[in-house]
């Protein structure tokens, strides 16, 4: 506990809720003078107050400034969160997205007034198709899981067009939770496929589960253990042999951009997380964008809307069931997709270019393998390398120390690093999944490596108390998640 009078610690200032700073009638916004209308509200004017607090502009500015200072971002420091691709977010994207000609466009303006916006969507779509080798892309999905939904619905529509939607979707045990959740949303039964001792899909086990009931196999590649599925061509062949489609979860595309095209691996469909691979900011949990590339067999079933070239320039096809959208599965999202995210992603792609994108993937893989090489003697490496853009350790190195993966993560926080992904994937015990991305310099990695080595030594020396009490230097120490879940307080309420 802080021993200052206020509880503040210099730059870290305690900040009450907005509701605790209320002065009724105060506002941070002045409205232009106007004559209130004779109301035409059908007699349904709100009765009674809402309860929103009143703050002035300087109070609001301080509020959010202070809150921001209690957050760790990629701008703050090293953020090796596995499977999340926390790379630098160039501010050029922010500047471009705020051009009035992009940011101030209404989605229902006549197409003649938004030709540049439609061209931008088309241009980004072109890059995504070129980088994956697949001939079509559905641009509307709002994030990765939404792209999965788009992909599986497209697959289902393709099966239905052949007369049988099929019943089962296969996913590896190491899959992201979104994969089985998405398959269930599309009405499929989920069957897990085990991994082999090398951390890859057990091909024989997969083949044993493949039959005419299987609609699709969903695979993350590189997989969530950070490994390339080296039998992927055999997997694709086996999947296609029973008439199923091969879905790739594109969360880990950052390892492969410009070095491997999905089409060359036999993949039919993959979502692309623009907020990971293509450097758009994650914003504390979104917005993302999940454009989904499709094979020629799946393309006719893509959701609306999409952009086409017409006699008067670019046009939007917004209605399913007619024209080029005759077989479309329908609509998955209001309006035309995450346009603001598209602008940022295209700014990144144009900046990097073909050579830069390839170099970024190469550096991301190099950085991860450097961590592997420099840490494998003190941590426990789950699977032999080389890894791809992330490296997986487990908690065998902590055996009998009384220190857990979680404790190590919290100690890293005190050292100024964001922790790695913990306890995922589920196929190893106490997972520590590190994804450094190409953003990290060698110096930065060396500092991190030194800290991890020192912490590992301290854990092995038996300093349990230190680890269990970490983090010591954060705005809040370890929080009681049990209390939060047992008696949920999900909103502010006025004291009685």
């Amino acid at each position: 506990m802080s021993d200052t009078i206020t509880g503040n610690r210099a730059l870290l200032i305690e900040e009450p809720l907005i509701f605790e700073q209320d002065s009724p009638g105060r506002s941070g916004i002045d409205l232009p003078a106007f004559q209130p209308a004779a109301q035409r509200l059908n007699g349904l004017r709100r009765q009674g107050p809402i309860g929103l607090p009143g703050l002035s502009e300087p109070q609001v500015v301080r509020h959010y400034t202070r809150l921001s200072q209690k957050n760790f971002g990629i701008d703050t420091g090293f953020y090796p969160l596995g499977s999340c691709t926390m790379k630098h977010n160039p501010r050029l994207g922010e500047k471009m997205a705020r051009l009035a000609g992009f940011g101030d466009l209404h989605p229902l303006q006549p197409a003649s007034t938004v030709q540049g916006a439609l061209e931008l969507i088309d241009s980004l779509a072109g890059w995504l198709k070129d980088l994956t080798g697949l001939p079509a892309v559905a641009m509307s999905p709002a994030a990765g899981a939404h792209g999965e939904l788009c992909g599986l619905m497209t697959i289902r529509a393709a099966h239905e067009a052949k007369g049988n939607p099929r019943q089962i979707v296969l996913v590896p045990e190491s899959a992201h939770g979104t994969n089985p959740a998405t398959a269930a949303l599309c009405g499929y039964q989920v069957v897990a496929v085990p991994a082999n001792a090398r951390g890859r899909v057990d091909l024989a086990a997969l083949e044993a589960k493949l039959d005419g009931k299987v609609a699709a196999f969903m695979l993350t590649n590189p997989n969530t253990c950070g490994l390339f599925e080296d039998q992927i061509l055999e997997i694709a062949k086996a999947v296609h042999q029973v008439g199923a489609y091969f879905y790739c979860d594109g969360a880990n595309f950052n390892a492969l951009v410009g070095r491997v095209r999905m089409a060359d691996l036999g993949i039919d469909c993959m979502h692309i997380n623009l907020h990971k691979t293509f450097a758009t900011p994650h914003g504390g949990g979104g917005p993302g964008a999940g454009p989904t590339v499709l094979s020629a067999a799946l393309a006719p079933f893509a959701p609306v809307p999409f952009v086409v070239h017409g006699p008067n320039g670019f046009e939007l096809v917004e209605e399913a069931g007619q024209g080029p959208a005759k077989q479309s599965l329908g609509r998955l999202k209001g309006f035309h997709g995450q346009f603001g995210v598209f602008v940022r992603a295209l700014a990144y792609i144009l900046s990097m270019g073909s050579d830069g994108l390839r170099q970024a993937s190469s550096d991301a893989v190099l950085n991860a393998n450097y961590l592997l090489a420099r840490l494998k003697d003190v941590l426990s490496l789950s699977f032999e390398g080389p890894c791809m853009h992330e490296v997986l350790f487990d908690d065998r190195f902590l055996r009998d120390t009384g220190v857990t993966t979680l404790d190590v993560a919290k100690a890293l926080i005190d050292e100024g690093f964001h922790p790695m992904t913990m306890y995922f994937p589920l196929v190893v015990h106490g997972a520590l999944l590190m994804e450094p991305t190409e953003t990290e310099s060698k110096d930065g990695l060396d500092r991190f490596i030194a800290v991890v080595r020192a912490l590992a030594a301290r854990a092995k020396a038996g300093d349990q108390a230190f680890f269990h009490a970490a983090p010591h230097h954060t705005p809040r120490r370890r929080l009681d998640e049990t209390q939060a879940a047992r008696a949920p307080v999900l909103r502010w309420r006025k004291a009685d």
């Binding site: 709100r46 009143g54 971002g73 450097a279 917005p287 999900l490």
Partner: protein
């Protein structure tokens, strides 16, 4: 390449530490046939200046709504965003952080989302709200799925006043989980009677208020009928600012309220990103989709915030999760919350009154034009009019003069030719008297 810190010398040193001669040796698990041995034949890297030129040229081909007299609504509403809001939103600690899984280094995002949840609950008149979904349309689909889970009934009734995108997104998703959609025909005048559609198989009735045609309805009779039949009432809002002036869905008896939240703080962005708001009764909280932030204490007893009730979510419950959603609209939720915080109660209600005044003035002016019939009687900041000519032609003609006159019926309901002469007109505080003059004169001329 300005985003890449490694130098050639460092790369070489790192390869040596790893024990490989070439970067290609790290890709040996990739089948030989699938390895690209050189960059794809696409343009190479560019300077910031060059990229700015390319993208600015594309932006220049568009007509920004702010350079026109803009009366577009139809689910997206143009509002003034405080200058300070965007500056705060750009703070890197908000912009460049991940989902707040590590609460000790995410208290800023978590507290802001707790405030967001509280604000959404207050304006919708509901007990709890989540930390956002993708957009209003997908939130509507999630509400439909949730109603199916709670009631274990198969029938979903969609009002003809529901935004067609929202109805279609709900229909696309519902069919895979065995829910049957009964979608009512478009209802421009707000006269539809849904009471007869409710039966023992009905999971929920989905209505929009104000409707997509702008009409404000008293939902209390419908709420009562739903309750009596054991069905849920889902209320959709596309313009949350309306809640500053009209009775909240919660006060009228809604069980679930979903909304498109972009009209506060987020901006137009050609329709995306969106911001899905989702609120419901406390007793349904474990059936809710999406993340939730809850209050707790740390080991020193100090108040703090964490993500909670996560066992509903895909990363734990996998195929049994309430939704597959992971990334949501965090930064948009923050922007929405900031805008409401700047406004406060007085500003929110005042801005709503200003919007209503602009819309009433616009409706009165247009009603006087020969060939124009105002269809909506009670409305907030948007209403429907019937024109003596196909609306899309009129819209195109006015667009060429820098007037974005509204949303023609054929754009949202291409399969309904009877709505081809219909125009949705929205007027927010960004509409000035001179804009109303321009619209009125333009319409009069186009209809002459």
């Amino acid at each position: 390449m300005r985003y890449l810190p490694l130098t050639e010398a460092e790369r070489a040193a790192m390869r040596a530490a790893i024990g490989v001669a070439s970067i290609d040796d790290l890709f040996i698990d990739v089948p030989q046939a699938a390895r690209l041995d050189r960059p794809l034949p696409l343009p190479g890297h560019r300077s910031e200046l060059e990229v700015e030129r390319i993208l600015s040229a594309l932006a220049a081909k568009n007509l920004p709504a702010g350079r026109a007299a803009c009366f577009l609504g139809g689910g997206f509403y143009r509002h003034h965003i405080p200058a300070a809001l965007d500056q705060l939103l750009l703070r890197g600690e908000f912009l460049t952080s991940y989902t707040p899984y590590q609460p000790e280094v995410s208290q800023g995002t978590l507290q802001a989302l707790f405030e967001f949840q509280s604000q959404v609950a207050l304006i919708t008149g509901m007990e709890v709200a989540n930390a956002s979904l993708y957009d209003g349309a997908t939130a509507t689909a999630e509400a439909v799925l949730m109603a199916g889970r709670i009631t274990k009934r198969p029938k979903i009734v969609l009002s003809g006043g529901l935004h067609p995108h929202f109805a279609k997104v709900a229909a696309t998703q519902a069919r895979y989980v065995g829910l049957a959609i009964e979608a009512r025909a478009p209802d421009p005048t707000g006269g539809e009677n849904l009471l007869g559609a409710i039966d023992a198989k009905t999971a929920c009735v989905v209505v929009q208020n104000p409707s997509v045609f702008g009409a404000i309805s008293d939902l209390r009779p419908l709420a009562k009928a739903c309750q009596a039949a054991g069905a849920l009432l889902v209320v959709v809002v596309t313009e949350p600012l309306a809640l500053g002036l009209i009775e909240s869905p919660g006060a009228m008896g809604a069980d679930i309220v979903v909304a498109e939240g972009t009209s506060l703080g987020v901006g137009l962005n050609f329709g995306g990103p969106g911001l899905g708001l989702f609120a419901t009764r406390e007793k349904y909280v474990r059936q809710m989709p999406g993340r939730l932030v809850g209050e707790t204490v740390d080991v020193e007893g100090q108040r703090g915030w964490v993500l909670t009730l996560s066992t509903r979510e895909q990363h734990i419950r996998r195929e049994k999760a309430t939704s597959n959603i992971c990334t949501n609209s965090g930064l948009c939720a923050l922007a929405f919350s900031m805008h409401l915080t700047f406004l406060g109660e007085a500003g929110f209600v005042g801005l709503a009154e200003l919007n209503h005044a602009r819309a009433v003035a616009t409706a009165e002016r247009l009603a006087a034009i020969p060939g124009v019939t105002v269809l909506t009687d009670g409305f907030f900041n948007e209403f429907a009019i019937r024109l003596a000519k196909p609306a899309h032609q009129v819209v195109e003609r006015l667009a060429a003069k820098g007037i974005l006159a509204g949303v023609p019926g054929s754009r949202l309901w291409p399969a309904h030719p009877e709505l081809a002469d219909l125009l949705l007109v929205a007027a927010t505080e960004t509409v000035e008297p001179a804009d109303i003059d321009a619209l009125a004169n333009g319409l009069a001329e186009a209809l002459r």
